[in-house]
Symmetry: C2
Subunit: 423 residues, 2 copies
Amino acid sequence: MTAPTGNVHQVAVGDELLCGRTVDANSPWLQRRLAALGLRVRRVTVVGDAPDAVAAALDAAPPGTLVTVTGGLGPTPDDLTVEAVAAWAGLPLEHDRAVREHLRRRAAARGRPAGSHLERQARRPHGFTAVINPAGTAPALLGEARDRRLLLLPGPPAEIRALWPAVAERLRALWPDLPPRRVLLLRTAGLSEPALAQRTEPLRNTHPEWDWSWWLSRWGVDLQVTAPADADPDRWAALGRAAAAACGPYLYARDGDGLPAATLAALRERGWRAATAESCTGGLAAGALTEVPGSSAVVLGGVVSYADSVKTVVLGVPDAVLAAHGAVSRETALAMAAGARRLTGADVAVAITGIAGPGGATPGKPVGTTWLAVASPLGTWSLHRRFPAHRERNRRLAVAAALAGLRTHAATGGAPWAGWEEF
Amino acid sequence: MTAPTGNVHQVAVGDELLCGRTVDANSPWLQRRLAALGLRVRRVTVVGDAPDAVAAALDAAPPGTLVTVTGGLGPTPDDLTVEAVAAWAGLPLEHDRAVREHLRRRAAARGRPAGSHLERQARRPHGFTAVINPAGTAPALLGEARDRRLLLLPGPPAEIRALWPAVAERLRALWPDLPPRRVLLLRTAGLSEPALAQRTEPLRNTHPEWDWSWWLSRWGVDLQVTAPADADPDRWAALGRAAAAACGPYLYARDGDGLPAATLAALRERGWRAATAESCTGGLAAGALTEVPGSSAVVLGGVVSYADSVKTVVLGVPDAVLAAHGAVSRETALAMAAGARRLTGADVAVAITGIAGPGGATPGKPVGTTWLAVASPLGTWSLHRRFPAHRERNRRLAVAAALAGLRTHAATGGAPWAGWEEF
């Protein structure tokens, strides 16, 4: 086999990816995981459910490349990836006994007959290795053919996520020139992409030999650094400390957990029950907190006080506060947080009031102007922001700032947004 | 030039698309628009900001293909698409006077100097046509080279959307073999993808010569049919009626408007102000309604009554109702809707209470069990669902059913979910 290049071509298979029906979110997700293995993606090709198109995409990958193929592993006749790869590779299809046995047991446990579609899903090209799918029927398949390494994965994102830990382990076992790598993942909220890049630039310059990448998450910006496993442990540990310091008070997690899960974990740890009071975000902060299974043990609920009348009647914001300072003000945010706490009996409440845009600006309060507040047994705090984006993103940024403040306050007992730069 | 095939290859350019930083959502969006022009996408290739990689992707498109290239048209040195295409085509780069003039005026209006980066963005390959970008600086470029038709678009999704109407018009003017087509777009909520396919299958069988496509939207399933402009007007009109009838009570819009906008329009038309009461959806219904600019004229607010204590204390759901029927019941949903109406003074309120999962199931109430209710001056109604998916999707489906019911009730004055099948 040609020496492996560390380069990856991705092939996404499915007619639904060519007619506007489905966005290929699998490829970017895999790109981050492959980076943690020291691999770089050079090209993604999206083709329909057609063996010729799959073969052409495989041909386009230079020898020594790892080719990932996602999709087309399902049980229906239009799922042709396994046949297409076997035909391209010139390898016969065989049944994998372990997969067949697993699929039969799975069907039996669900009271379903083990039909021929299950037999179909137990096939693999001769010499390929199968990894059993804990979240579906189609296994992942790994093998070599025509000077390329091949990794076949099913299309449903949840199945890829469930398969990945075992697949990554098998990749390393099968191809030991993929050495284990150290991975540092830092998740931040409240910083823009350029701001995070600027904060971490000195570190990148002192460690140019390690791989740096970052991307926008739902809640902010994530930073990932990977290094060979034999990287100097002291330097690596120092980098971890320095990178965390560079992220500063915006760092909320060091693993795959999203901001809602991190916020709930901090609240649970402190034994607090939480409530929300939202104006411009219209319920999205409560919606984010409750996306985590089990959040009912921590989240009592909240009020969407979009109209001023709801702020006064439901949350008890004094008319005088609204009249003197306006709905988008420190005073109103603090009164909303206090009102949500009082109304629901929560230990801690977070409030958001702002001008999401495009309308609603007033003199001195441009679009994006937002006030946040936290009230808890330890005190009250507020934060002023002027978010620079359009309505949808301004609301997302406000929710992220609210949850990040709630998390920090529950985790430290200190000010929710201690150290956040004014903007 | 080789006869045009009606086939499209898409090329998405950008390093950020290969390292997990950004999902290529432009290609699927364009696929739907291209279908309305009678064009079919056969392949998408994602490459980095490298002229060789762009050239290889162009080479892979057979003669007669239309190749769309998105991204890499920005002002910075790593934006190489125009140079790469010109070099591949063997065409010199020229300045487009109209674009240059437009960019200078744009810069002047913003009080910025017209720097060399603007000159850079006014370039086009010799013979190409430029379409001025109303939402950014990089124009769209159209032309022919080496037996392919080429359409270059900037990468930011908002710019592509803003450019598209003028680009589609120019495409037709430049390449008159792309005849205008009739387009029917029907948007539904409350139906699964297979259910919509099944309802419309008889129609597809009677009109196999027209192009049918459908996709999952945020709120349900959209159906698109396109036909040549010279299709028989009576048959086309009959198809429109029959397709709408096949969508039945699940149809909420016939254009690009999403469900929140359609719901707000119906409420505004009736002169009603609305409120929400949400349990399992945790604020997402209010969050969806308030994503539309100007929603403050219609939405008063709502209550997230995640805990039972908030249902009783804030919404006034009687303890006896919770004790007798449980939090997930018709009676609780109706009491929540009534409570939200009373509390906020809204004309109409919608309530959602359910078991989103994965935990929370009780005997007789499996995961996915959800009750919705609407209360208005015209009466009260409820709907039972058992959503079949995972937590995140169950919550999304519940929000869609709530908004769809609210819209229908405001639009017709009748039952919110009249004609919805039980499941």
